[in-house]
């Protein structure tokens, strides 16, 4: 079975790129805090950029790990811009002062996302295990605004914030944020270990999304985005996604610090190495990627009327909890 849409794409639209797993934080939900991986030299990183440019990958987004810790971040970003790539990153904001904001501007970043998990500073600091992190994150938003860089806010929805997400939207408005991403909770790394404490029940997810989609519909002054395929099963959901189901392996891939490619940061299955393997061979023929693109309904997904739209929900979550890419998303309420 072929997927005409996937077949059409000659390469991912986005590479989510972890330059290093090093981080100055130890967040309760982090997928990567306990990961270790060899890192590449700047020359090797530039070779990766050359390959991405050759395959016309339009976007790279640095994550991690904290990208601002990486000594070559700006040199690499500058180089990537020169090769025609659109560069963005996600940061905890701790190191994003005036000087960093100006460097970000000079390097031509398209946008920078700052992670803020609660509008209550003490709660955010506790979640991030770093006193003062809320103030530094908010200050980062202000420095980005002052430097003329488009900012976004990334908030992982969990038990600490799902009933107060409107406060996060207000916080975003106060600090000239262009777009808020309300990320779904992933059960990977520490998120897996702490899921009993942090994750919502399927019914709570449903209630959250119904409310959040209503707020999104009514909001005109702020872009609100979700990245959770499970919401496609909600009645009346009419978002026009580029693909159905998880976008991982269809629109995006993840790069580990050593150049290994995985479908996304939350699925630790290496499909190839960007420096060592033929990219097109991996992109078109990887058994893992093709399995993700052509999922088969299993368990309660079999016969479910929503499957055609959600394709089983988040593949990463299914894999983390069952070891099977095609099992139903554990967040599904149906």
């Amino acid at each position: 079975m072929t997927n005409p849409l996937t077949e059409q794409f000659s390469a991912p639209l986005t590479f989510n790129w972890t330059l290093s797993y090093s981080c100055n934080f130890a967040c309760s939900h982090c997928y990567s805090r306990e990961e270790q991986c060899a890192e590449l030299t700047l020359a090797e990183l530039k070779q990766i950029v050359d390959r991405l440019a050759r395959h016309q990958v339009p976007f790279i987004n640095f994550g991690g790990g904290e990208p601002l810790i990486h000594k070559d971040l700006f040199a690499l970003s500058d180089y990537a811009r020169q090769q025609g790539l659109n560069v963005s990153m996600n940061s905890n904001g701790w190191l994003l002062d005036k000087q960093a904001a100006e460097q970000i501007k000079a390097c031509g970043f398209r946008s920078v996302g700052i992670s803020i998990d609660s509008a209550d500073g003490a709660l955010h600091d506790d979640f991030r295990n770093r006193p003062g992190s809320f103030d530094r994150a908010v200050n980062a938003l202000d420095e980005l605004a002052a430097a003329g860089v488009r900012s976004t806010m990334s908030s992982v929805i969990s038990r600490i914030n799902y009933q107060n997400f409107n406060d996060l939207l207000d916080l975003a408005r106060e600090h000239q944020v262009a777009q808020v991403y309300l990320h779904n909770f992933k059960c990977s790394g520490r998120g897996f270990k702490n899921r009993q404490e942090l994750d919502l029940t399927p019914e709570e997810w449903k209630d959250f999304y119904l409310e959040a989609l209503k707020v999104k519909e009514e909001t005109r002054d702020l872009l609100i985005s979700f990245d959770d395929p499970v919401i496609a099963s909600l009645p009346g959901y009419k978002e026009n996604s580029l693909v159905k189901g998880s976008s991982c392996g269809k629109l995006s891939l993840h790069l580990r610090p050593n150049g290994d490619m995985t479908p996304c940061g939350f699925i630790p299955l290496v499909v190839g190495n960007i420096l060592q393997d033929d990219f097109e061979e991996v992109w078109y023929n990887s058994p893992v990627l093709n399995k993700m693109r052509n999922k088969e309904a299993k368990g309660k997904c079999q016969g479910c009327g929503a499957y055609e739209d959600c394709l089983g929900g988040c593949t990463a979550r299914a894999f983390a909890t069952t070891g099977d890419l095609s099992e139903p998303d554990p967040h599904c309420w149906k």
Partner: protein, 108 residues
């Protein structure tokens, strides 16, 4: 003057594999000209242009006016020049209205 220029904020890509397949089908006398060969990413939405639209888009690099576009396209498409001119004008007008293309009004 009146050179056509793509909106520089629009991210786009030629889907070479798809384009090649469409060209091969057309060379064999089959249909296939309506499939997307160029994708545009605009405000989180993806739009697709068919073979003719994609070629027009690719040629709108600020160096050509409509007459020059038609001349270039005439080399690729064996159709009546009058029909081609009308198709190009209609397509360009639509994209100009959307803000995806603009006319460079500066003089040569």
């Amino acid at each position: 003057m009146n050179k056509l220029q793509r909106n520089p904020d629009i991210v786009w890509r030629v889907e070479k594999r798809r384009q090649q397949a469409v060209l091969e089908r057309m060379a064999a006398g089959e249909e296939g000209g309506d499939e997307g060969t160029v994708i545009l990413l605009i405000s989180g939405m993806m739009h697709q242009l068919n073979l003719l639209g994609g070629m027009i888009w690719t040629l709108c690099d600020g160096q050509r006016d409509i007459e020059q576009l038609v001349t270039e396209l005439q080399k690729e498409f064996d159709v009546d020049p009058t029909i081609l001119q009308a198709d190009v004008q209609e397509f360009v007008a639509d994209l100009v209205e959307r803000g995806w293309l603009s006319y460079d009004q500066s003089t040569d």
